[in-house]
Symmetry: C2
Subunit: 357 residues, 2 copies
């Protein structure tokens, strides 16, 4: 069902694919690193499995392999960036770097991005702030799959939020989560295995709760974090909406149901309200608030205290980022498992570009 490949092997192949698409060597290397960060951290839906999707978007001329990424508006602590339809995998690192530079200068930096594409995992970008003793934030809007509370219609993406916070002796706190009950990737796994979804993950086309993971193909929708009104789905809807507005209304990208689909076979909205997909990044220097060493020492205390909270029998309290970090070390050493259909996709891509895989 799956084969294991070394990180290096996948990275080399991915880099070559991006080069054949017309990316510069620098962009191809960077895009490969960002894409595979998902596989290393165990978020398989956002990594190498999407490579063929990027290729198809490029073939459909929805991705510009040689973008002129630029700041179109700025203040000392903010910027809006036009991604020029580039790979989100290279637009996002550029934008995060601008946020970090602004934070270096005035304490914090906040960057909203338009005219971009899917940027891989949000956590990768947020974590870039850590090496500068900054708190990093990253979010993005995405193809509409999620129905707001009381709606039948798909209006929002899974719109993830990532926040990375440095510590001293402890590994950093890294939260990275979709603002839905379950990420789309988890649903895809259930679809593949023909298993039922838990209640609160999806609804059918009429807005009734459903446990059928294939419901989305039939007009159903993912549900905001909370699942239903009684369990706080209006809060998940708020979170998804905030991500959408910060990423796309602030920047001038397409928002809500106008967000462009990741799959190239779905048409773009005929009446766009902006350009491409939107992202939002933030960086806050911790020493803009208190001495960095003091802050990081208290983060160690915070992390230690929470990790040692009295657990439910048989369980252990985790710190956000723990499972992904463990996965990272394991996969860097043992290789990355790739499912058979993804291997086939990659072979097709290799054939298309006259590459070996």
């Amino acid at each position: 069902m799956e084969q294991r490949f070394s990180y290096h092997h996948l990275w080399e192949f991915t880099k070559e694919v991006f080069i054949r698409m017309g990316c510069s060597l620098e962009h191809a290397k960077l895009a490969s690193e960002v894409l595979l960060a998902a596989d290393l951290r165990g978020i398989d839906s956002h990594g190498i499995a999407r490579l063929s999707g990027y290729v198809r978007l490029w073939e459909a001329k929805r991705i510009n392999a040689q973008p002129n990424i630029r700041i179109v508006h700025e203040t000392p602590s903010t910027a809006v960036i036009d991604g020029d339809a580039g790979l989100g995998l290279v637009v996002a690192p550029y934008a995060m770097e601008v946020a970090i530079q602004k934070a270096s200068a005035v304490g914090t930096g906040w960057v909203s991005v338009k005219n971009s594409n899917h940027f891989g995992i949000a956590g990768y970008h947020a974590m870039k702030a850590l090496e500068h003793d900054m708190i990093g934030m990253a979010m993005t809007n995405a193809s509409p799959l999620v129905a707001p509370t009381f709606a039948k219609e798909r209006m929002l993406g899974t719109n993830p939020i990532a926040v990375a916070i440095p510590a001293k002796e402890q590994p950093p706190f890294v939260a990275d989560f979709a603002t839905t009950t379950a990420a789309n990737g988890k649903l895809e796994i259930l679809q593949r295995k023909n298993q039922e979804a838990p209640s609160g993950w999806i609804q059918d086309k009429d807005g009734n709760p459903s446990t059928n993971p294939h419901e989305l193909k039939d007009g159903g929708a993912l549900l905001p974090l909370g699942g239903d009104r009684e369990h706080g789905s209006h809060k998940g809807y708020c979170l998804g909406a905030i991500v959408d507005i910060f990423s796309a209304v602030l920047s001038g990208a397409n928002y809500g149901p106008w967000a462009p689909p990741f799959v190239s076979f779905l048409p773009l909205a005929p009446d766009p309200v902006g350009e491409g997909l939107g992202h939002f990044f933030g960086a806050m220097r911790v020493d803009a608030f208190r001495p960095a060493d003091e802050f990081k020492t208290h983060m160690d205390t915070w992390i230690n205290r929470f990790r040692n909270a009295t657990p439910v029998a048989g369980k252990q309290v985790l710190i956000p980022g723990d499972p992904e970090r463990e996965m990272y070390h394991q996969r860097l050493q043992d290789g990355i498992p790739v499912l058979a259909p993804v291997v086939k996709d990659m072979k097709d891509v290799a054939t298309k570009f006259n590459l070996n895989f």
Copy 2:
């Protein structure tokens, strides 16, 4: 069971109580406005019902009625404020004003606050940014009542997040929500009525799911938004943790299980890790990203599109802030209903201070 009072009547009484506690006239007026903003917006647990609690905290010398609220550290876009153990109801407006001033100067302003107390509803503070064509944010940590995913122990408060976003013709987008499945106030209502709580709101002292609303008095805990792991409670835990860290670790307040209790009969932690309670505020000038008129016109489009999303039969899709705004207009006109036990509490407060109620 309840009596109605005009906003003005409650405001006058509340103001007099704060004056008798030793607040300046200016602070007493402001604190009354902030406190009653909760009642006007229908968040009854955070308004006049808490007045006697503030008095008891003052009697226990945990609230300083004449605080010297001051900036202890700042950069062009950030500040840390020491609330000097003042009422959160006056410390928070001061801090939000600093955030707004910083945003006026450099695009955004971010303020973390230590040594404060309960600040009323987060939404009030976030909304202060709206009149400046800014996006406002407010969050606070609070007494530990919430168990992280897989924990038996209460480690976090209900740690609310508020985000207010201006529009043009449309009323603003105002999200204001606890990062738990249900706010503590909703549980108090069930306790009073001896009704069962929905699943996913609480757990018992051993970490088992429970529907008994009295569980918290017996060592149980509120659950993070999501309810359990399968429904994304780790995401609610992340959100509560981020609020805690931004509010208290950045500022130097008490965090996690060290956060001071609102009720004066519970002791403070013997080993504090900071000073008082913490808050976090943000203000972003929308024209630090794109022209304000353009942004607000697109917010109108966003709001219209979401309000008109195809609804589930018999329902209507709401914009965050809709229900509270409707309640606000209704209660300003028809008066604020106050439950009998709260009326009794207020009469006791009146007697204590030689006031009429």
